[in-house]
């Protein structure tokens, strides 16, 4: 008959403390790491909140806060974009105030040249 040998069951105090100790160290390291991460999220959220508050404050301090109430813009419409009145979306306003990007830039330049020298 072949005999089969195996380890005895149970552990000693020393083995228990070593096993538990390693797990405890790992738990502490993971905890510290998680804490660092959570703090970083807080700092980042804090920063975003402050930045947003700053932008709102700056905006509230502005004398003119809406472009359609800006006297200079109103004047521009009266003198040039819709001569004699304040009328948005005229042909001229559409072509001059909308910009284009990338490959469409040469065509835009061409168009702007077309309006060159024109004034009310």
């Amino acid at each position: 008959m072949v005999s089969i040998l195996a380890e005895k069951g149970g552990i000693t105090r020393r083995q228990f403390f070593k096993g538990a100790g390693v797990l405890a160290v790992v738990a502490v390291v993971a905890g510290v790491f998680a804490k660092i991460g959570i703090d970083m999220f807080k700092v980042s959220d804090d920063y975003i909140a402050k930045r947003a508050a700053g932008l709102y404050t700056l905006d509230e301090k502005m004398a003119i806060r809406k472009s359609h109430e800006n006297p200079e813009i109103i004047q521009l419409y009266k003198d040039f974009l819709s001569p004699g009145e304040v009328k948005p979306m005229t042909e001229k306003a559409h072509h001059l105030l909308h910009t284009r990007y990338g490959q469409d830039i040469p065509a835009l330049l061409e168009e702007l040249r077309h309006y060159q020298g024109e004034a009310a």
């Binding site: 040998l5 195996a6 380890e7 149970g10 228990f16 096993g19 390693v22 790491f33 991460g37």
Partner: protein
């Protein structure tokens, strides 16, 4: 070898399952990691392109982390004994390292009796534990915190993760060579990869200190 007859149960079923699971995860993680580090097209394509390879890497990492964690909780005694063995270094272990267990032809000297694991395996045990912890501690922030942490910290994680991978792959390659290829040590192959048993004569010779404390099952 000695003339002890019989066999020794070295690794239980859960241990072997966990070892297989971790091995497969490691291979997938290593392969996908190499794929996106060097941007190797065919490796990425194995996993359905770079974006999918990245997802495979992350979710395999979850198994890579949860597997051993569950194993340790279910087998706390086994784990404690393992930690006890690999954290015990005596004069015999130092002497084993000086002779490199007799594996290197020109290093002469008597190889002293060893525990369940020889001094080299003990060191590998620590390398694997620390290496895996580093993977976890750098990998999950690279996944979950990437938009909250500073670029410098993220870069630090990537660098540590990468070098950890290089060192661990070399360590695992060495481990594979001794466990599966080297004629003197591959006699233990089946104890981890198959049925859990090693020949008693081999154990009496390679792990004399551990062997002395075994008891008969039948």
């Amino acid at each position: 070898m000695s003339d002890v007859k019989g066999k020794v149960l070295k690794h239980g079923e859960q241990t072997r399952t966990m070892h297989w699971l971790h091995l497969i995860c490691f291979l997938i993680l290593g392969l996908t990691g190499i794929g996106f580090y060097w941007n190797i097209g065919w490796i990425n394509d194995l996993f359905g392109g770079p974006a999918n390879a990245s997802l495979v890497h992350r979710w395999t990492a979850v198994v890579f982390t949860a597997g051993p964690a569950i194993y340790i909780l279910l087998n706390f005694e086994r784990f404690s004994k393992f930690i006890d063995t690999i954290s015990t270094f005596t004069r015999d272990d130092i002497q084993w390292l000086k002779t490199m267990g007799g594996y290197i032809p020109f290093l002469k000297g008597k190889v002293p009796p060893q525990d369940k694991y020889n001094a080299g395996q003990k060191i590998l045990g620590w390398v694997v534990i620390l290496g895996c912890l580093l993977f976890i501690l750098t990998g999950f922030p690279m996944w979950l915190w990437r938009h909250a942490v500073s670029p410098a910290f993220l870069d630090f994680c990537y660098t540590v993760h990468f070098w950890d991978a290089m060192i661990m792959m070399l360590a695992v390659l060495g481990h594979f060579f001794l466990a599966a290829i080297h004629p003197q040590s591959r006699v233990e192959f089946s104890s981890m990869m198959l049925d859990g048993y090693v020949d008693a004569g081999v154990t009496a010779h390679h792990n004399a200190k551990w062997f002395a404390n075994l008891s008969k099952l039948e």
